[in-house]
Subunit: 129 residues, 2 copies
């Protein structure tokens, strides 16, 4: 399987595939006589896993950790479990932060809606912020 075919099959681009190889996510494939990358179907399964990880919001570095564990012959279940737990915590924190920010902005927006613009003070640039 050549790189272009794999790109189509995996829904990525050849650029991304070379980048993933460089980043250690995709093992360097065999080369054909002319130097072209020659992928096995395993690469497609791996890319599918990468895609699922990305969908779950994991970073490439985290996905690589999991792949490295699997490649070392160990089942990455435990690591994945811990990773997902930490990720949940991250998400909760991000959501809480964004909601707090949303409250702040909603307040600002509300005062900007109900206030009298003629009372603006030029020294503070804009009193709505």
């Amino acid at each position: 399987m050549r790189i272009g075919e794999l790109a189509v099959a995996s829904g990525t681009t050849t650029k991304t595939l070379r980048f993933y190889e460089e980043a250690g996510l995709l093992p360097a494939p065999e080369r054909t006589a002319n130097g072209y990358r020659d992928y096995t179907p395993a690469a497609l399964a791996r890319l599918d896993f990468v895609r699922r990880g990305r969908t779950a919001g994991l970073t490439l570095a985290q996905i690589r950790e999991i792949l490295d564990i699997r490649d070392a012959g160990v089942a990455p279940c435990q690591h994945v479990h811990a990773l997902l737990e930490a990720h949940l915590g991250d998400l909760d924190r991000q959501i809480a932060d964004l909601q707090a920010l949303r409250h702040t902005v909603a307040h600002l927006h509300h005062s900007a809606t109900t206030s009298d613009p003629t009372k603006c003070d030029t020294t503070t640039v804009c009193r709505y912020l």
Copy 2:
């Protein structure tokens, strides 16, 4: 006021102040005879505005827009109002996205908690994702 003093007074760094000047957020101040930047107290008020904008989650580019309007002698109220409204929409979208992602990750985490790790299939790297 020298740059170091302004940095302390505004709670930023000299690096940031030069960066803001470069980015057009802070007008280039007068220079003393030896070439040092010499800030007026107005710079502090402006930095305070920048800080408030940042706290509200605005980008430096957005803050700059507001400052540019104010510097043009116009009250930026209307622009700020629209900006905040759009920002609210962005935040709502981000929060919704993160919550959807959280649901997905929570599901994955749950199956990783309740599943039997011995059933792992090596071809899919990890069935929890």
